[in-house]
């Protein structure tokens, strides 16, 4: 059964053009679904509609098969973690967690047990008497998580919960969240604009643009078989190299192909590994970035086309003219409407 289902969902703010129009979407029970997209794509709006914090303009929202029309946010059995944590500043950590449980009329003993358990789980046992202002950013994040977990919801909603943390803490809490998801076995819906977060944590990624789904699939699929050029260019750093097939003379002939694409990290420089059917390109290095374990090159292969190359653990190349190669199965093709053409290339892996 779908944990969340949208039917012909439309949302417009005041009298502006709708941010989401006639959206049909199902989020699978027990999945860690990531709503990914650039700012303004409607991902947060979608999450807030699920939470009941935002009124939809038209359409139906189901949670656990139940129509959410006129169901108050507090009655939807969901927990939400906000970007700025939204901890109650005048309450202690204990009261922050307890507030929701009290309102849900959980018996006193049960409340005490749950708070003790959850504080233990997120490592807050020694901080229960503190107020949020006396906690570090990472600790506040943990309180927000603890508050969400203690309610034992059927659905976790997270709205960019890591964006206020520094890079190191973010990486740490990311793995914590994966652990948490595996332990709780509940549906997670996670909003982010960060593709690393999406790829690392999600079991399903939904890439949104202008309120429309661009691609919905597993992280592997969305990375290897992007449904269209937008997805191909959104995922990956640097993004997939995509350009007009007409600018190449040696590309494999694929019916209807207008654009060709390949990932920077799939390019190799070792000529001896080249096989029949592989694409060979050459050009001048415009820029070289040494990033420790990897090296990025910006190469101009013809007056209008620049290719990004990413190599790992190799000797840096000197500036000048280079030749590079891509395996046939790593090529993607897109038609004149920028949609993927399945040509069987990747199946050969």
């Amino acid at each position: 059964m779908a944990a969340i289902k949208f039917e012909k969902l439309t949302k417009a703010y005041d009298h502006n053009a709708p941010v989401i129009q006639n959206l049909d979407l199902e989020i699978e029970e027990g999945s860690f679904t990531v709503l990914l997209g650039a700012s303004g794509c409607g991902k947060s709006t979608l999450l807030r509609i699920v939470a009941g914090l935002e009124e939809k303009t038209a359409g139906t929202v189901y949670i656990g098969g139940e129509d959410m029309e006129n169901v108050e946010p507090g009655d939807r059995h969901i927990s939400m973690v906000f970007q700025n944590y939204a901890l109650y500043p005048t309450m202690t950590v204990y009261d922050n967690i307890d507030f929701g449980l009290k309102n849900m009329k959980v018996p006193v003993d049960e409340r005490k047990r749950r708070i003790a358990d959850v504080a233990e789980a997120v490592g807050l046992s020694d901080f229960l008497d503190r107020k949020p202002k006396n906690l570090s950013g990472g600790q506040r994040q943990r309180v927000a998580l603890a508050r969400a977990i203690a309610k034992e919801p059927q659905l976790f909603l997270m709205d960019e919960p890591l964006s206020n943390l520094d890079a190191k803490l973010r990486a740490q809490i990311r793995t914590d969240l994966i652990e948490l998801y595996r332990k709780l076995n509940t549906t997670f819906v996670y909003v982010t604009h960060d593709q690393i977060e999406a790829l690392s944590m999600g079991t399903t990624i939904i890439l949104l643009r202008g309120g429309e789904v661009q691609h919905m699939g597993s992280p592997t699929e969305i990375y290897e078989r992007p449904a269209n050029i937008y997805t191909a260019k959104f995922i990956g750093s640097p993004p997939m190299n995509v350009f007009d097939v007409a600018h190449l003379t040696s590309a494999p002939q694929v019916l209807g192909a207008k654009h060709i694409g390949f990932r920077p990290e799939k390019i190799f420089l070792d000529k001896s590994a080249v096989q029949d059917g592989d694409l060979t390109l050459h050009g001048d290095i415009l820029a070289r970035e040494l990033l420790g374990d990897q090296i990025l090159y910006k190469v101009k292969i013809n007056p209008v086309t620049i290719v990004n190359i990413k190599t790992f653990n190799e000797q840096p190349l000197d500036y000048g003219h280079i030749e590079f190669y891509i395996k046939a199965q790593h090529l993607s093709f897109f038609d004149d409407r920028e949609r993927r053409i399945d040509w069987g290339g990747i199946n050969e892996i």
Binding site: G52, E72, G100, N103
Partner: protein
């Protein structure tokens, strides 16, 4: 340079303190003088034989305890009424967009511009037709709501991040609970300041009690103090008036000391992330 700056700063600070403290000092001083000392030239800046009897004279001349009780009851009544009217109004103006909310808020603000001298007659007529003259109700009702307090509290509520309300809604809290348990504690510095300002103005109010009373039943302390002016001889009894004033301001000073910390917070509060 730095030392010079510090010295200037200290001098200005001392001057400021003097400006504010001197009237109080003069009041306390005069309250302990004899009548001849009050009119002595050049004036005395200290007294060696404090006249405690000035205070007992205050008690003799006016029903001080009765008026003190009136002042307490009326000020407390006004505070209570304002808490009931102002907090929900400010919360609604801050959080809800309803039809006419802007117009209503504008009307609320406009009431601040109407001078009380303009409305005391209609208010008097209204209360007298209701048969409320010389009752506590007549003293409390005209101040039962405050546009200024609504405005101030609304600003504070608006500064509180929307996510807190949303988090509380997801925590299954009712609107009343959100207002009382989440918003009000955060707005506490503002509420305390408003309460103190309201208390001071209702405690010191002279005009409304003067207009709305015809006998001593519900008269308050400021009216009593002005009664002390009734002259026995040729000289105004300043020493007794000042003794009355000392008794009048003591509760205010106590209230101020209690609320001091909160008031400073109210003017420095910047919200919490």
């Amino acid at each position: 340079m730095n030392i010079l700056k510090k010295i200037c700063k200290t001098i200005v600070n001392i001057l400021l303190v003097l400006i504010f403290v001197t009237p109080f000092y003069w009041m306390f001083l005069t309250a302990f003088k004899t009548i001849s000392q009050t009119i002595q030239m050049p004036p005395l800046f200290y007294v060696l034989d404090p006249q405690w009897s000035n205070f007992s004279q205050v008690f003799e001349k006016i029903p001080l305890l009765h008026m003190f009780k009136n002042s307490v009851l009326i000020s407390a009544g006004i505070l209570l009424c304002q808490a009931i009217t102002v907090i929900p109004a400010a919360y609604a103006f801050a959080r809800y967009k309803f039809a006419g909310s802007k117009v209503l808020f504008g009307l609320t603000l406009i009431t601040m511009m109407i001078p009380s001298q303009l409305i005391f007659l209609p208010v008097y007529l209204l209360l007298s037709k209701l048969g409320l003259i010389n009752t506590y109700a007549s003293m409390i009702l005209p101040s039962a709501c405050s546009a200024f307090a609504i405005f101030m509290l609304r600003q504070t509520f608006m500064q509180i991040p929307e996510e807190l309300v949303e988090a509380a809604r997801l925590d299954k809290a009712s609107e009343l609970k959100i207002m009382l348990k989440i918003m009000l504690p955060i707005a506490r510095p503002t509420v305390t300041t408003l309460a103190l300002l309201t208390f001071i103005s209702s405690w010191n109010d002279y005009f409304w009690p003067l207009v709305l009373t015809t006998n001593d039943t519900v008269r308050t302390l400021p009216l009593g103090i002005s009664m002390l002016k009734a002259v026995d001889g040729a000289v105004m009894p300043y020493h007794i008036i000042m003794a009355g004033n000392v008794l009048l301001v003591i509760p205010i000073i106590i209230a101020f000391i209690c609320a001091q910390k909160q008031i400073i917070q109210a003017f420095t509060y910047v919200g919490e992330k």
